[in-house]
């Protein structure tokens, strides 16, 4: 092993080119010249007027494919839950934030169309990275990403969304961009 002191990088050496040393003419240019160059952009846009959005009174419309808070779905005709509690979404989730505990449907207590249903379905939204893998994994289109992005809360535990919360019709708070907008 050669010691580090006799290491010669040879032609691969990268020469670092440094800017002018502070002070003198170079220093003066850095303070005034570059600052003015930046301000040029600022002043050029002044004529456009203000563009501030007064959130939360006013909201940005999201694209229809925007991945916001999830929704669980029911069949429109029968009202049964589409989710069969297969746990595939939980397997796909890279943040490991979905918990599914399945149970068996009985004739007296039928929740979903298949043999099994999700007796517990929870998503910990404080961990979710909104990747949408769960939606991709679901064989029954039972879970989809909604558009709602307003999910802040005062307690972490309130961000664990239960099946009932995910099944409920969400308050459509996020406006959606129309086609071509």
């Amino acid at each position: 092993m050669p010691s580090t002191t006799d290491w010669h990088p040879g032609d691969d050496q990268v020469v670092v080119v440094r800017g002018p040393k502070p002070g003198g003419a170079g220093g003066a240019y850095r303070i005034f010249g570059e600052t003015l160059r930046g301000l040029k952009t600022t002043f050029a846009r002044v004529v456009e007027g203000t563009n501030t959005i007064a959130y939360p009174e006013e909201k940005v419309a999201v694209y229809p494919r925007f991945r916001g808070r999830h929704r669980l779905h029911r069949f429109e005709d029968t009202g049964l839950e589409k989710c069969v509690g297969c746990s595939l979404c939980a397997a796909a989730c890279p943040a490991d934030c979905i918990r599914v505990v399945a149970a068996e449907n009985t004739p007296e207590h039928r929740v979903s169309a298949g043999e099994r249903y999700a007796s517990v379905y929870e998503i910990n939204l404080s961990r979710c990275i909104f990747c949408g893998y769960c939606e991709v994994a679901c064989p029954f289109d039972a879970i989809t990403m909604g558009n709602d992005y307003e999910m802040s809360d005062y307690h972490r535990s309130d961000l664990i969304f239960t099946k009932e919360m995910l099944l409920a019709e969400p308050l459509e708070r996020a406006p959606i961009r129309a086609e071509g907008e």
Partner: protein, 832 residues
Amino acid sequence: MPRPEPQFITFSIDGREVQAPANEMLVDAAKRGDVEIPVFCYEPKLGAPVGACRMCLVDIEGIPKLQTGCSTPVKDGMVVHTQTKRVKDAQESVLEFLLINHPLDCPVCDKGGECPLQDVSFGWGGGKTRFIEPKRHFKKPLELSPLVAIDRERCILCYRCVRFSQELSEDYQLVLHERGAATFVGTFDGHPYVAPFSGNIIELCPVGALTSRPYRFRARPWDIENSGSVCTLCPAQCNVAFTVRDDRVLRVMARDNDEVDDGWLCDKGRFAYQSVHAEQRIVAPMVRDGGVLREVPWARAIEEATLALKKSGGRVAGLAGGATTNEEGFLLQRLVRDVHGSPHVDSSAGLPRAGLLAMGDPALQATVADLEFAHTVLVLGTEPVDDMPIVDLRLRKGVRRNRMTLAVATSRPSSLDPNAVLSVRYAPGAEAAFVAALSAAFYGGDVDTPARAAGTDAGAVAELAALLRTSGGDEAGDVVVLYGERVLAGGEAVTQPLLKLAGALGLSGRAGAGLLGIPAATNGRGLREAGVVPDAGPGLAELATAGADAAGIAASLTAGDTTVLYLMHTDPLRDQPQRATWDRALDKATHVIAHAGFMTEGIREHATVVFPAESYAEKEGTIVHPDGRLQRLRPAIGRPAGVRAAWQVLDELMRAAGVDTGLHTVHSATRQLFESVPFYAGLTVDTLGGKGLRWWEDEARAAAWPEPAKPGLLATVASSTPTYEAAATPNGALRLGTFKSIWASPEVEASPALKFLHPTQRVELSPVDAERLGIRHGEHVTVGGDGASVAAVAHLRNESPAGSAFLQSGIPEGAANVLEGPLVEIRKAQST
């Protein structure tokens, strides 16, 4: 038949030169060269391959057609290809065929995620189907039994389940009905598939056709963790993997350890895990207060126990049950002997020290695997399916696959009789006379007298002796005597002729032959070696003063010589004979301190301090298999909040008495135990590993077995004349025999899934006696003797010997131990 010696040959697979034992099936041989051939129906545990699914097709040079890798033995110089187009096409077509009728309802299928059909389709399938016609339909899901659900649409007809039922457990219930695409699996008569080993078909089924009802939809493979440990519900000590989700045990699966269980589990081991989370489990310490047990804080319970032990002034006795680990037993005997100076500790080993040493001599030990490869196995006084279930499968395997000769000598008809070459019956309790007769037949002594005393036929005994003598052809081959340790209750009268027999058969020091005792309770052997016997300390060391055994403890409690009884995972009213005697003894005791998981009768009525016991899924420690394998218990889940480890409680009680125990963790207890048992020298929990090890296989450790067990003993024993008591003459009454069903345990009672199997009292008797007494099958009767009686249902068995009646022990109500025997009378119950 002795184990075959493998001969290695060389063959080529996918261009690799691979060494494999000659005649190994290609599928297994390929694995040695890291080549995987997909299979469905092939399962070496099931014996000879059947070639039902055609998934394993391979191309062998010189053979024009593709061959099934699972049923083609490998030959020297064979050239095999698994990656050619022909093989690929065949694999894709086979899968396409298999999936034609397959519902592919993976999302609702319990096998999803751990399904070989999914894996093989993904790895070898074409990924497309051309089938657009309607699929085959069956009604689903159906109950194959209360434990197993069947979905016939998913079945790929691999025969595995049917083969298990027909060829492994030999219950002959599962069959394939109909033909062609309409074939389906079911029981031959349409009744539920109820058998002691039925749960194994769940694990065998390569698809989701057979699934566990208790586990149904509980979790996916990615939701769970598997935690390896050992099942402590019977002496077989099968290696298991607990499936854990959210700190709850949801399933028990076999963890392959061929030397212990061959990869099978009985249904008790597979489903009684439910008792771990049962509501009736004791999860807080209790103290008797005003006649009733009330929950109290730990400090109070410990204080109460400490005070009781202190006030007794050394008049203490300790009794350990089978679920006690070596460490717990070791600490219990320390508490009783060293701390409180009383010699009375027992775990119902049933033999004095000399007997234990002679029977436990390392040179005489046989292993479970020896049962399979011996020339002859003699089953003596035990019903394996009840006493050590998994051994039943091993014996059947030996007979079926390795041409082992099986002989059965019991009082109660055995379920192994149909497999045995010879079955001999003797009167219940006449083991000593029977063994004396057998041994006499060997030495050319008088067979008639002992045979008559044993209530057996001298001719049959002579035949049995001849069978054993010539088991290896002209000479005595490898013989294993598998005996229930209950037969040793006769003490020297049984062990002496038995050892004499062992000497005559040349079992001492012979590999593949020997004695194998089935203890009455799980860790019987470990407790003995840890010193939980009246007259020996840890390592069976000689003691200055011998204490009383269980029966002696009962007498001493009744007489008031002992005032405090310390019960470790045992309820004498359940586990000991002579229930009335124990009832009196416990009543007399001023304090009964018990570690218990469930409120069984004796605990409920007599315990004054109850410490909640850990379940076997929570325990850490070591136990010893009947063949000497030290195994490690590892906790799969945390304890419920109110439960503490038993070693910790014992430690606190010893510290409260002012003793520095030097214990910090359960491992320090293990270390102390291993240090004080000479023949465990040098062992650590790490050397035991996941599969345990037989301590006597190491020569240095075997040599550390205490003296009188050296070969000389066999010689001295051989020269003495045995003494035995004759079996009682029925004289119109019936001899009482007892048996304990595999289902008789508090864990089974606490498992909802096994509810349908709870044993109820039945009396087995022969049709001859029944006719004489005017009793019909299924009739309610009372079995009585000596003023006590139990209610039972008459169960006539054609094979039952006339003159004897058999009652169940170990059940909550009306167990056999209510009666003292040896004779009972059976009467029709008063109609209600």
